[in-house]
Amino acid sequence: MIMLQYLALAAILFAIGVFGVLTRRNAVGILMSLELMFNAANINFVTFNKFIAPGGLTGQIFAAFVIVIAAAEAVVGLAIVLLLYRNWKGINVDRINIMKW
């Protein structure tokens, strides 16, 4: 079926994003992988909107809100990364363990 190929694409993109979040040491790299996962979710929203509920545009509205929230997340996340860099002189997350104890 034609819908499944879009879902499969989204699943692959999401899996790649999960891999990036798990393996990146650089905090900016982790944020970039997060953006990949957001995009996978958005592809799913738009796909379901087109194939399951084509009467309205609820899925597309949701995807638009997700994009906006992702932008806000990137703004704040990168500001936190800058702050970490200023205080630690590095942004590798395996070195930043102040919250551990």
Binding site: A64, V68, A71, A72, A74, V75, L78, A79, L82
Partner: protein
């Protein structure tokens, strides 16, 4: 959907043109690579350090303001298209939306982050 064929063709022609130019330049230019050519500038001055210098933190604040107001602009498009059928109510909603974001701009202004020192 078929009108996007033109976009695709345009994309292909654009990429092809750049690749073709690079290929042509490679064909006719002389190639004598040596180390000094890779320096930041080739004049007598010896460059100190790396070309990857640290940027000023202030650039980030401007990029951040740009992102936030870019998002605002994106919401203006569907509002403007649908405005003819919606009338006053939609106008009030959008004024509230912009006023809230304007508050953020005022905050940034008041904190002095917009000034380039």
């Amino acid at each position: 959907m078929s009108e996007y064929l033109a976009v695709l063709v345009f994309l292909g022609v654009g990429i092809g043109m750049v690749l073709f130019t690079f290929f042509l330049a490679r064909l006719i230019r002389p190639a004598h690579p040596y180390k000094a050519k890779n320096q930041s500038y080739e004049s007598a001055e010896k460059p100190i350090g790396d070309a990857w210098v640290q940027f000023n933190n202030r650039f980030y604040i401007f990029a951040l303001m740009f992102v936030v107001f870019d998002v605002e602009a994106v919401f203006l498009f569907p509002w403007a298209v649908a405005f003819g059928q919606l009338g006053l109510y939609a106008l009030i909603e959008m004024v509230i939306f912009i006023a809230v974001l304007l508050f953020g701009l005022l905050y940034a202004w008041k904190k002095g982050v917009l000034k380039w020192v």
